[in-house]
């Protein structure tokens, strides 16, 4: 049975009212429920403008966007935001409460939850994201990585079906990136659709299989990470760099027949070792 569509974008065109220039040009896109998808492209390619359509912050000028079948033009941000949680790039734009607990409970209070239940739920999420020890701390005392996790917590707390993360790895170290990947996998196992907007090619190569690439307001490629990220033309057009193992695999392709996702380190090593051991 085909899975439900979480996001459907059809012939989407968008420009800001005072501007002549189209920021999004005829975007067509389907994301199934339960997928993990990366939307990639350089700064200014239109990625953030696109995801702001997913919870109705922006409405299409032409075409439509549907979230679980709901046309975003016919529903308010408040309705859509319960289904689609957006985590923006800069935590400082999102954080404002005086304690980590208050910050995490904010949305639930808005939704009219009973305070005790809201607190229980917030505590559960903060524990999952390793922030429980800070519940009475000011969010502004947290490190950059912790602030990012807090913004994820304050969205996850109201249990949206779709989680959209805008550049979660910018300015993060390797250990923190690994932790984000674990969080993404875990919430995905719980059935949630996860959309990661990023230009971090190595992060996508390591963790995400389904990739959409944007350049200058258009989708220029979509498919498996091994096909898309190793396509020189696409990467050049999007001003992205090919992942290191992708570049090595392309150069070795004459000799080595790679099977599976060779962008992942263990598979790359296994495939090369097999070839080296062949007589």
């Amino acid at each position: 049975m085909p899975r439900r569509l979480a996001i459907e974008v059809k012939n989407l065109w968008f420009k800001y009212p005072e501007s002549e220039e189209w920021v999004l040009k005829d975007i067509n896109l389907e994301i199934e429920e339960g997928e993990i998808v990366a939307i990639m492209g350089e700064n200014g390619a239109g990625k953030t403008t696109l995801i702001k359509h997913f919870n109705g912050l922006l409405k299409p000028v032409k075409g439509y966007v549907k979230v679980f079948g709901l046309d975003t033009r016919e529903h308010t941000v408040a309705e859509l935001a319960r289904r689609v949680g957006l985590v923006f790039q800069n935590p400082d734009h999102q954080i404002f409460a005086s304690t980590v607990l208050e910050e995490t409970m904010f949305a639930l209070k808005n939704f009219g939850w009973d305070l005790k239940k809201a607190e229980e739920r917030a505590v559960k999420i903060l524990k999952e994201l390793g922030l429980y020890k800070y519940i009475h701390t000011s969010p502004f005392m947290l490190s950059g990585g912790e602030k990012k996790r807090l913004t994820i917590a304050s969205v996850l707390v109201y249990d949206p079906d779709i989680l959209v993360l805008d550049e979660p790895t910018v300015g993060q170290d390797y250990g923190q990136k690994r932790r984000f990947a674990e969080i993404i996998y875990r919430i995905n196992r719980e059935g949630k659709t996860v959309i990661v907007v990023t230009h971090d090619v190595e992060f996508v190569a390591d963790y995400i299989d389904h990739v959409i690439v944007m350049a200058k307001g258009k989708i220029v490629a979509e498919g498996n990470s091994t096909e898309v990220l190793c396509n020189d033309e696409v990467m050049k057009e999007a001003r992205l760099l090919m992942p290191q193992l992708g570049l090595a695999a392309l150069m070795l392709r004459k000799h080595v027949e790679f099977r599976g996702n060779f962008l992942r380190l263990p598979i790359f090593i296994k495939e090369v070792r097999r070839w080296l051991n062949d007589a």
């Binding site: 250990g175 001003r239 290191q244």
Partner: protein, 289 residues
């Protein structure tokens, strides 16, 4: 000549209960290109601030030890404006550094503050624009530029002061990959032309491992590794992974694919091209035997 001597430096920010730096020693020779890396919160940025005098002059806290530049300039005894022509600093977010209405004026701004005369100022602005390859941007406003262009302008305005040391704190953190590579290439070019001493803090090591001549790794306020990139990415890989520092994938493949009887023969490949060469050579050798 020794460009930087850091001796027994410890620093604790006011209001913080933990030491950000704990008894750090580091010596850098003139002309070196040093990468400083380590997990977030390890003290990298604090160490940079000790080199350019923001600590102890701007950030308050408890400070111990000495930082001496070119064997005579004690950083704690000079005002930041006196240090500006000696140590140039470039930050993560170029927007926080750019404040004038055009690129040309931006580059001239630091020079005006140093009291440099107008003719010399014009010469230096031209020189910096050319050196960074941004002459075509001279009349643009910084906010019209892309992140990568902004970062090049920030570097130009620092370089125009002719510092002998350039300190960059995660200059590519907010840039997309192509712009990051662009900025790093510009730095290599500067290094070649000026023989300036460069200290760069970065997380993305695969871009820098092939370029720098020394890698300093920090963790919890201390320097735990200080070696050549070859040493670090061959023999310290486990330690790096444990503290959460990214090792270039080419080096990881190399380490896991090949076992060498003689460690002297090991040379980690920093680029996919080098890795492929090593793999093809290994195949030839095994076919022959």
């Amino acid at each position: 000549m020794r460009a930087i001597r850091i001796e027994g430096v410890s620093f604790k920010y006011r209001g913080s209960s933990e030491w950000a730096l704990k008894d750090v020693d580091l010596e850098v020779e003139e002309g070196e290109y040093v990468l400083i890396t380590g997990p977030s919160g390890c003290g990298k940025t604090t160490l940079c601030r000790c080199i350019n005098g923001l600590i102890p002059h701007f950030y308050e806290g408890e400070y111990k030890g000495d930082v001496v530049l070119f064997e005579e300039i004690e950083v704690s005894k000079y005002e930041p404006y006196q240090l500006a022509p000696i140590v140039g600093m470039v930050f993560q977010d170029p927007e926080s550094q750019l404040l004038m209405s055009s690129v040309e004026r931006e580059i001239a701004f630091g020079l005006e503050n140093l009291g440099i005369d107008r003719d010399e100022m014009r010469r230096r602005v031209e020189w910096a624009l050319k050196l960074l390859g941004i002459e075509h941007l001279r009349n643009k406003a910084p906010y019209e530029l892309s992140g990568g262009e902004q970062q090049k302008v920030a570097i130009a305005s620092v370089i125009a002061m002719r510092p002998r040391i350039l300190v960059l704190d995660e200059p590519t953190a907010n840039l997309d990959p192509a712009s990051s590579l662009d900025v790093i290439n510009v730095l290599s070019d500067l290094k070649r032309k000026l023989n300036i001493t460069i200290i760069i803090v970065e997380h993305r090591l695969n871009l820098l491992a092939p370029i720098v001549n020394r890698v300093v790794v920090m963790d919890k306020g201390r320097i735990i590794i200080d070696e050549s990139p070859e040493e670090v990415f061959l023999r310290k890989v486990d330690m790096l992974e444990k503290i959460g520092v990214e090792v270039p994938k080419t080096c990881l493949v190399y380490r896991k694919l090949f076992e060498f009887e003689n460690e002297e023969e090991m040379k980690p490949p920093f680029s996919p091209e080098d890795l492929v060469q090593v793999i093809l050579n290994a195949k030839k050798v095994s076919n022959r035997s």
